[in-house]
Symmetry: C2
Subunit: 445 residues, 2 copies
């Protein structure tokens, strides 16, 4: 819609709001609408559309239900009893109660496998990590500045940093030949390229484990990134929200562990520059609860974050319920282990099925997705070819996955395929449909 | 802190984040810190600082506790039973479940005393009204544009619209002689003045009932504002979050009622331009729950709002609990009536006590506060004089109230004094201290 038309339309929005609306009409969301319109169900709609485009873990929610059932007596009428509403009704600290910050600090230590406990005073709890990432975009970048970020990317990051805060992701493209891993040299090259376009990097944003690749970073890689950021005085934002969803070797390494094992100068740099995100949306499968946290020792950033959390703090009721859950460390140990077993089985089912269909995936050990190579099925190896196949996948094969363009994939034809939101039946049906499709395609050639 | 210093400081934030931090260091927050440091308690700290600076209603939380206790059996272990976590765990609609939107539409109709039911499809529920106001600032204004707003103001509005969205409030100052009521002529004059400074109005933002005045707008006033906005194609944002906290005549009138009783052309204008906010923070005294809603028939705005609610949607657990509460209409009727009785008594206690101390207040019938004239106690009738008295009030009389400057009062020396967050004891002690102070001051003169 052009500017002239917008000015005359009744009840017109701001130009920035029009950009927000335009963004939510992207193909990435078209697939969600198709799934909502015609959802697969083994019995009632076996030809329906299967959702493999959502990074959601529905594999272990029965364990949460079980926990709630066992703790029934402690939650009579309200978490901990109705009298608690006297404490929960009023305005709360923007960045979470002291008690949830204590519980969250221990939760992070467990999930991130840190040797040293985190100080609760450096943990801020808010209403989910999307809000926290937007806060970091506002807090670390001014107009004309951006966040370096390896591509392919988790599609939501760009929405989080760009739509309102206006902070662009300065992409650092990987290559499929290297399984999309990026080196310090790639980071340096990206800085040169983006700076030439007038965009100044202020931070390196990492999804660690990687989303959409489902891979973990090695100590060596993280160490080289940290050295790069130190040399250039860049902030490091390490989003480790899948830390406890690592179900195969190599083991997960937190940026905080790398910091701890660094020299004194690097540790001092990290005090002000390294910020780590974590939450309950992925590793506990509770995105609907809207609760996430950030660890930072940068006091000024903590202050700015707390002030902005007025817009997106965690509900007191939810804080109370989640605090009880997080304080049950034996349950968390059990949940994490059982959940990893279930994820491993699911991912194996998908990867072996895809291999049988001749679809390669980036070797992965974590997360709720794989990055799959559909290039053999593309008519043309470009964005148009990818979009045509995306529509074929959605409308003919009736599978929603995230096309490369949504992930800013450096090479067209790679799709993010999620394996933990669908039912067993749905995942098996999806693999079956893709095998059929691959066979038909081969016969056609 | 100057720009040069900031550039060299380790782990520096963005300039916009520094502005956020600077804002939260304002005197308005200094009082909160003093209350936190030395809180009044009748027994343990009778000389402590009394909080009359927080628009929070703690008068009726016992009724919520009672409701929760009675509904104990329906909330075994989890709102509605542990099995519900299967529905609550996953990602939810950004703008609330269908069920809470239905309940919220009825809740709004009751609180706003609307004759016609609201369609749930035009109600968006999010994680509190602050986030929604920020969304409106992003969605209706571009840089260089602002929201007209009568002053004195609710201090939070400016934080909500300005700190991140950069949307200034274009103040329309009232006069104490008129009890700070503003007319259509005042609005026209303000447009001329702000336009001359290059600031284009895009909306009229109203707190209705008025915060900090504790007054309601008449049908005639609202009608003239609506006509003004129609003539200038401005959006109307009516924040009616205190609608059910009107405890004396004249009765509350919603902007939606004014629209309904307007001519056809105005009703058509209103479809795209009138947006009404409501929530549970004030009228149910549950700000800690973080849940608020907006009614708008502007489909494009609804789309933009939903997209931005990704940053601040309401927790699914909280949605479920609040839905049950809102669906109990008999309880809401009982709560609203009892709560109004309690507010009336409290406000009467404060206003009569202040009158005895020779402190005038703007005649008020609603809200959790009065706007009080402390000008007789000021050494000089300017911002410095006001600040000196604010510090005397805080440190000597040990009362925290919101100084005029925080409310952008057109005349210095007027303070917002809140009467529903403190205990009965605390409010009585505050009135007693002020009477003493007034007497000492008179003797001193």
């Amino acid at each position: 819609m052009g500017g002239a038309e917008r000015v005359t339309r009744e009840g017109a929005l701001s130009e920035r709001a029009e950009r927000v609306v335009a963004r939510s009409s992207s193909p990435y969301y078209a697939g969600w609408k198709e799934v909502a319109r015609n959802p697969y169900d083994k019995k009632s709609n076996p030809e329906g559309c299967i959702q493999l485009g959502l990074a959601e873990n529905m594999l272990s929610v029965d364990l949460i239900e079980e926990w709630l059932s066992v703790h029934r007596l402690d939650f009579s009428g309200y978490p901990g009893g109705p009298a608690n509403v006297h404490d929960d009704a009023p305005y709360q600290s923007n960045h979470g109660s002291l008690r949830i910050r204590q519980a969250f600090a221990k939760f992070m230590q467990k999930a991130l496998q840190l040797r040293t406990p985190l100080e609760p005073e450096h943990v801020l709890v808010g209403g989910g990590c999307s809000g926290l990432i937007e806060i970091l975009a506002f807090s670390l970048a001014d107009p004309g500045q951006g966040f370096l970020h390896p591509s392919p990317i988790y599609p939501g990051f760009e929405t989080d940093t760009l739509v309102r805060a206006g902070t662009p992701l300065l992409l650092v493209p990987g290559k499929s030949a290297d399984h999309f891993a990026v080196t310090r040299d790639d980071l340096e090259a990206a800085v040169a390229e983006h700076s030439a376009r007038g965009l100044v990097p202020r931070a390196l944003l990492l999804a660690s484990p990687n989303n959409p690749l489902g891979t973990t970073y090695t100590h060596e890689q993280l160490s080289s990134y940290l050295a790069f950021c130190k040399a250039r005085s860049l902030h490091v934002i390490s989003d480790e929200i899948y830390a406890a969803s690592v179900f195969g070797p190599p083991a997960f390494v937190s940026m905080l562990t790398v910091v701890e094992e660094s020299d004194k100068e690097t540790r001092e740099f990290a005090r002000e520059h390294v910020h780590v995100l974590y939450g309950i949306s992925k590793d506990l499968g509770l995105p609907g609860f809207r609760l996430g946290g950030m660890y930072t020792r940068n006091a000024r950033l903590a202050e700015a974050t707390s002030a902005q959390l007025r817009f997106c703090s965690a509900s007191s009721v939810t804080q109370r319920l989640v605090t009880s859950l997080l304080e049950d460390e034996a349950f968390l140990d059990y949940f994490f282990e059982e959940n990893r077993t279930r994820l491993r089985r699911r991912q194996h089912l998908l990867v072996t099925g895809f291999a049988e269909a001749g679809i390669q995936t980036v070797p992965a050990n974590s997360g709720l997705f794989v990055f799959a190579n559909f290039r053999p099925f593309l008519e043309t190896l470009d964005e148009e070819g990818e979009f045509a196949f995306y529509m074929e996948l959605l409308k003919e094969i009736r599978i929603n996955a995230n096309p490369g363009v949504a992930c800013r994939s450096p090479e067209p034809g790679w799709f993010r395929v999620c394996f933990a939101a669908a039912s067993d039946d749905a995942l098996e049906a999806a693999v079956h449909r893709l095998k059929d499709f691959a066979e038909r395609t081969r016969r056609r050639d």
